[in-house]
Symmetry: C2
Subunit: 182 residues, 2 copies
């Protein structure tokens, strides 16, 4: 499970609640990893049992108490073990390509509609990524003062931008080919 390791990664920056961790996901890694609160909460509980985290309760009035999790020595070790560990190739699942693969059984205009919709979607996503690259990243680095970390955060953004651009290029070529030959 990589959710565990992502949680360890963020908690290695500082102690946080499940709710705050969710915000970390949404603000920084959402374009290559996501998690629901309903998945985060039980996972944190489990990690506490495993000794990777400790939890302290901050009592609040008129709100549920905050459960702040902190990484332990064992958690830190586990994070670094995972970071160093070689990864085996991830299982790929691109449902859109399954559609294209069987696109021959649709009418030309129907498959073109799919391709054009996908193109529009990814153009929008690219714009969002590029905005984030310009503004958000610099902001995060200033907020945290994490300069070395910022280099790696930037790399993941560039990966996203590069692969989106490649995907968009392919979509444009695919549309042209289908218009011509199909």
């Amino acid at each position: 499970m990589s959710l565990k390791h992502a949680l360890l990664g963020f908690l290695n920056y500082k102690g946080m609640t499940g709710y705050e961790l969710k915000q970390c996901f949404d603000r920084s890694v959402h374009y290559f990893w996501n998690a629901n609160l309903s998945q985060i909460y039980p996972t944190l509980g489990q990690m506490e049992k495993e000794g990777l985290l400790t939890m302290e309760v901050e009592y609040q009035e008129s709100r549920p108490n905050r459960k702040v999790y902190h990484i332990t020595g064992a958690g830190c070790e586990e994070l670094h073990r995972w970071l160093r560990e070689p990864m085996d190739p991830p299982p790929v699942r691109q449902a859109f390509l399954v559609k294209v693969f069987f696109g021959g059984s649709l009418e030309k205009e129907e498959i073109l509609a799919q391709l054009r919709q996908e193109l529009e979607l990814h153009c929008n996503l690219l714009a969002i990524l590029e905005d984030r690259a310009r503004e958000g990243l610099q902001q995060s680095i200033e907020d945290t003062g994490f300069k070395r970390e910022g280099l790696f955060w930037g790399l993941t953004l560039e990966a996203g931008i590069k692969s989106k651009k490649a995907w968009i290029e392919w979509l444009e070529e695919a549309i042209a080919k289908v218009e011509l030959y199909s």
Copy 2:
């Protein structure tokens, strides 16, 4: 579930056993979708119950009987409904980028080792895809006589090649940056 639709797609070409369907996956779409036999068999059974498929048993001696599945009218409709249906953006999960994101807590050489290993892996995968693009695809089109389908099969291959190349480029840039700045 897209496995169902992928199975419908293949069975729309011709009737097959679960074992043969697995081979279809391995030979054609494995670089963007995969399935285990232990997942295929129960799914086929379920699809039969739902009326998407029919099954006939071919009796064999000294081997388990072959259960050949055929697509029904309802199955064909469901396939086309899905193919036409707009897709919502897929959940993205790139564990490798999670590692890079938290790469700041590794030593320079440790993160470089990860990046280099990933580069080598994807260079190999690219070579396989390019081989398949040159030889395998043409073969499949000749074997089946499916010309129009071949166009779409080719598009998915090009998508794979294009995105692998983008990934490799990014890895090379990332390695250079980490070597310089980290």
